[in-house]
Symmetry: C2
Subunit: 353 residues, 2 copies
């Protein structure tokens, strides 16, 4: 604590991201990155932008990237907001749409950055307990005092809500913003984009970090009614005129446009996920039904913390959350086939000893 810190700085409890080990020999299944490289077209596009124009500011409005996103989702360009990773887009959204004194609702087991944002801005929130089987109890999100946010699929469970459930939440919160955080939507869930014309209170947030293999470039975006997007622009333009650099703008555009590569890699990941889930079940793991690029698993007899530590000793990083109800689980990002073979082998030797 320093006497120079503001009340806010003293109050907050910062988020702690998963480890980024420096060693390249580890198998990194701990931060839900994509195991496949970015599209070769994306790497080419970046190369083409390495020139003296880097001395100039990027476009403050990021029109080219917004246009590509709008075209892909068949929405209007004014329904698109872009930011420095979906984390920044989320941070802006909390400030843009939520007011202190009125509880925001989100699940008790979810992306652990949500309470951090709320604390940063002095916003109140209420955590809604997931059901016994770790699904979102839809009715409990009705008539939220301040607004709603949840990931679909949820993290770290990987379980997805149906569009019909999401629509019920939207219908019962017409006066409040409902944020659907679709960071993992491309691995099997149904995006809520089709609901935008019907629900002006719907904000969808996505990222290029997962399904487009661009975690290293920090590109996130939001889709929603023009009024909501304008609100985000107001906040962004009161914070930083240029949140995406020239190379991220170039990379993002081509990543969205290269649909074939995107489909090919995400399908590979989904296939690997199903294969690994089956093998884990054969090893007496309880495996939640995941529509994300990770699996949330618990062994019948061996404690998760033990598995987590033993795996780490062998250079395999997974994520363990020391938190009530989920401290018996580990979250395992889906890697390449080869990486998952090593993972399965390692896990087998741990649980069978």
């Amino acid at each position: 604590m320093s006497k120079y810190w503001s009340h806010i700085t003293k109050r907050i409890e910062p988020y702690v991201p998963g480890e980024q080990p420096r060693s390249t020999s580890v198998i990194k299944l701990n931060t839900n990155e994509n195991p496949y490289p970015p599209s070769p077209k994306v790497l080419d596009a970046i190369r083409q932008h390495i020139n003296e124009d880097l001395k100039l500011y990027p476009s403050p409005t990021a029109d080219d990237l917004k246009q590509a996103i709008a075209k892909y989702f068949n929405v209007n360009e004014k329904q698109v907001f872009v930011g420095n990773g979906s984390d920044e887009v989320l941070a802006f959204s909390f400030l843009a749409f939520f007011n202190p004194g009125r509880d925001i609702l989100f699940p008790d087991i979810t992306y652990s950055f949500y309470p951090v944002y709320a604390n940063l801005y002095g916003l109140n929130y209420r955590e809604i307990s997931l059901t016994e089987d770790f699904t979102i109890p839809v009715e409990q999100f009705y008539d939220a005092p301040g607004g709603v946010i949840f990931p679909n699929p949820n993290a770290p469970t990987g379980i997805a809500l149906t569009l019909e459930s999401i629509e019920r939440i939207l219908k019962h919160n017409r006066e409040k913003v409902v944020i659907v955080d679709e960071a993992y939507i491309d691995f099997g869930g149904d995006t809520a984009v089709s609901l935008i014309p019907k629900y002006e209170n719907l904000l969808i947030i996505q990222t290029l970090s997962k399904s487009r293999s661009l975690a290293g470039m920090r590109i996130g975006f939001a889709l929603g009614n023009e009024q909501l997007i304008e609100g985000l622009e107001r906040i962004k333009n009161s914070f930083n005129s240029y949140t995406l650099d020239r190379l991220s703008l170039a990379a993002g555009k081509v990543a969205i446009e290269d649909v074939d590569y995107f489909n090919e890699t995400r399908e590979k990941i989904m296939a690997t996920r199903e294969r690994v889930a089956k093998e884990l079940k054969n090893l007496s793991f309880h495996v939640l039904d995941s529509k994300a690029n990770f699996l949330f698993i618990r062994h019948d007899t061996v404690p998760s913390k033990h598995i987590y530590e033993k795996l780490k000793e062998q250079g395999i990083y997974v994520r363990y959350f020391k938190k009530m109800r989920i401290d018996q689980f580990i979250r395992v990002t889906i890697g390449t086939e080869t990486e998952m073979d090593s993972f399965i082998q390692a896990v087998k030797s741990i649980v069978q000893n």
Copy 2:
């Protein structure tokens, strides 16, 4: 106005950056970019990082970049914070060190983003009038209720404070944070870095956008006492785990390390500035004494708005501020020798007609 906007979203007045014309044929002297390209070593470093690792998150702690900055300034790595342009570092600083209800002091004529940040966070501020000759009245920054921020050199005047003046402001605000925004320090001012060991309330903010020709890559940083840096880290880690992407981290490191290129280009800019200032004086311009990469000028008889508009017609962009006391000036970024020759020719024909 939308019913979905938070009170803050409704209240704020976003910052408006200088125009970024798409045409490449214009002479762009309006946003204080560097006319020289980034160091060739920087471009090489970026190229080397275009590979499949872009699928992985960047380092959340940005250690390599921090180390390079620490080494250059001969400070400890824990005295360095990095962010997505100095705008983001400024935005974090307002939140980290200032509290609502206590006036922050800054000059009335200064970087117009300061009141925007204050409004974003509901902070109070008092604008201190510059003296008749546009210098900062040092004594009026003593005993600031909430803290102090000013650019050195100031923008858009370009006038620098002496280190002795800065030290007086620091001495008279021991309990409050004093932020010295050194965005333009490398063009002739004296950095306050040497005062860090003596003043734990001093935060210095710099950018690679100007003197390192990297506006397109969004890299800013802060230097100060470890407590202040820790405060900034707390805010950043409650907002976005990874604010700099992999390519910006690589570019920033090499840009700081290539001291020869840095010195060569900034010296060229300073020489051009002095030459242009002299020629403008010969054309009956009043030219403020600039230690920045721009000149703030007023003609004896021809209105600035007219000059601004006529220049624009000829494809030469400068910046005009429609604001009391300075609406008789234009701000002209120092370009290459050739660009400034074109500028002088154009201005000559405007003021002599």
